[in-house]
């Protein structure tokens, strides 16, 4: 298998509403990624586009719609979609284009324009529920996360304030992120605990709200990187992905088994047998604060029920032993579903090549893991990268 490196990354501002069309957002992120790698569109062999349900942008065949802005004109081009998991999965799809030897340079471009859907994308989210079993109850999407969070808290006896620490950490980390929608240097645990109760135990500041934005990364083969003498690169050393049962009321929501399986696959490939010792930092998917904890356990970076304790002890702070979401994550930077690739794959690249500026982890890091989560909260995608 060909060794694959990330050699460039770009992203737009993440905001509740942006004026640019989806394809214009893609263009901006893609152009930035190409520029940062010192490449032009002519160097690109193939393009992968990642984007969530068509109904958010209100454009059917969104992959087709975004192709020109993604640099796909007259090139082998594919849209991939695994719900929120797309944020990391599209890079896995890009990786296999290069690892297989089919392509030397692949662009991966992710986009979401959720502000098109009025008054709120919630009305469209309703249709991810089973039409016969769930939808007659008129469920709100937040319910499913509230139920998962409650089960997690109850089984392990986790306190809400320990979960709120995640929101505080990430919104503070995002202060150093130039694209952040939700950075707040002064936020406290009390602010989170006193925010509006939406669907208990989920409160307003436990959630990352919808955003508009796009992100892009450039992947290249080892040969190409050597020939072009590209210095800023981070190697993709492991990938994994897994989906659990579609019957969500048959799953025990307390542990993300799908993440654990995806992580084990990625770790085996990356020759990691002691993840807690061999991984230096992590970018797990954090659309809700409890999800960072849930996913750290799924990634085998904490024992079951231990992630809140590590958070309380400061282990996951940017200057802690295992920095988690140094980018600011979805909670701090924003949540344009697939485009969160900018904080997952993008941040790993920037951290591992020492380009993260104010967000740079103060100690040396060599190995990072990123993970995204999606579909009906049962899909996990994991990428391990090395500097």
């Amino acid at each position: 298998m060909t060794k694959v490196g990330v050699i460039g990354a770009g992203m737009t501002l993440f905001r509740r509403r942006l004026e640019e069309t989806g394809k214009e957002l893609c263009f901006e992120a893609t152009k930035m990624a190409l520029d940062s790698a010192g490449l032009t569109r002519g160097d690109v062999d193939m393009v992968v586009c990642g984007t969530a349900p068509d109904a958010f942008d209100g454009v059917a065949m969104k992959g087709e719609y975004l192709l020109d802005g993604s640099g796909g004109y007259r090139k082998p081009y594919t849209r991939v979609f695994t719900g929120g998991g797309t944020g990391v999965f599209s890079t896995i799809a890009g990786w296999w284009h290069v690892a297989s030897g089919l392509a030397d340079v692949v662009l991966v471009v992710n986009e979401e324009k959720m502000s098109s859907c009025q008054p709120h994308p919630q009305s469209v989210f309703a249709h991810i529920w089973d039409p016969i079993l769930d939808r007659p109850l008129k469920p709100n999407l937040v319910w499913i996360f509230a139920m998962e969070m409650n089960r997690y808290m109850t089984v392990y006896g986790v306190k809400k304030e320990d979960i709120a620490r995640v929101a505080v950490k990430n919104k503070r980390n995002a202060v150093g992120h130039p694209c952040a929608q939700l950075a707040d240097p002064n936020i406290t645990v009390d602010d989170v605990l006193n925010s509006e109760v939406m669907a208990w135990p989920v409160q307003r500041l436990d959630i990352s709200p919808p955003s508009d934005g796009a992100s892009a990364v450039v992947l290249a083969s080892e040969d190409f990187i050597r020939k072009r003498r590209i210095k800023d690169r981070a190697w993709i050393s492991g990938v994994g992905w897994c989906i659990d049962s579609t019957m969500w009321t048959d799953r025990d929501l307390v542990f993300p088994e799908y993440v654990a399986r995806a992580a084990k696959h990625a770790y085996k490939m990356a020759k990691i047998d002691e993840p807690r010792r061999q991984i230096d930092f992590a970018e797990p998917y954090d659309p809700f604060d409890y999800k960072e904890l849930h996913h750290l356990e799924g990634l085998l970076l904490a024992d079951k029920g231990e992630a809140p304790i590590l958070t309380r002890e400061g282990v996951t702070e940017r200057d802690g032993k295992m920095p988690v979401c140094p980018s600011g994550g979805l909670l701090g930077v924003g949540n344009p579903i697939a485009a969160t690739m900018g904080m997952k794959i993008g941040e790993l690249f920037w951290q591992l090549t020492g380009q993260a500026g104010k967000r740079q982890i103060p100690h040396e890091v060599h190995t990072g893991v990123s993970q995204a989560w999606g579909d009906l909260m049962q899909y996990g995608s994991v990428v391990v990268m090395r500097g």
Binding site: E24, F27, R41, G58, D68, S115, V124
Partner: protein, 160 residues
């Protein structure tokens, strides 16, 4: 192997009805804003220019899909275009019969990549590909900055 139990009485099958309820607001975007503001306020149609590729795009784009340069130069589209292809619609979007068939055309302009799909304001038996046409705009105060600010295209000679 197939299902071991199978209903053969079709009356026993059930379904669950529902609607997908969503409203959308599409912003015109950076290039689209230039296009629609000029159309609404000045009655002009703009294309964007890629100097490197010697290409003008209609509708205008903010980037060249080929060389991937950002495009910032805009120019007027020639007043007269040509009908590249036509179709006559006898039913509307919902499948209902129209009282009179509507002619729809793809209109292109010399030297410009792209074009516009719009109504051709002629009876179906007079509609021809190759006809020279001009845009007929709504009055200024009825224009809102959407593609419907153009009422349709009409043959050039019919204006005299």
């Amino acid at each position: 192997m197939t299902f071991l139990d199978r209903t053969t009485d079709a009356r026993k099958f059930r379904h669950w009805p529902g609607n997908v309820e969503a409203d959308y607001i599409y912003t015109s975007g950076v290039a689209g804003e230039r296009f629609f503001v000029a159309l609404r306020d000045e009655g002009r149609m703009l294309a964007s220019r890629c100097t490197a590729c010697h290409l003008d795009y209609l509708p205008p784009r903010m980037f060249c899909e080929d060389c991937f340069a950002e495009l910032t130069e805009y120019l007027d589209v020639p007043k007269t275009g040509r009908v590249a292809a036509i179709t006559a619609a006898h039913i509307d979007r919902t499948g209902a019969q129209l009282s009179h068939p509507q002619v729809w055309a793809f209109v292109t302009f010399e030297g410009i990549r792209g074009g516009l799909v719009h109504r051709l304001l002629t009876p179906p038996d007079q509609a021809r590909a190759g006809t020279a046409v001009r845009a007929k705009l709504k009055p200024r105060d009825a224009r809102t900055g959407t593609i419907a600010d153009i009422e349709g295209f009409e043959p050039v000679r019919s204006r005299f």
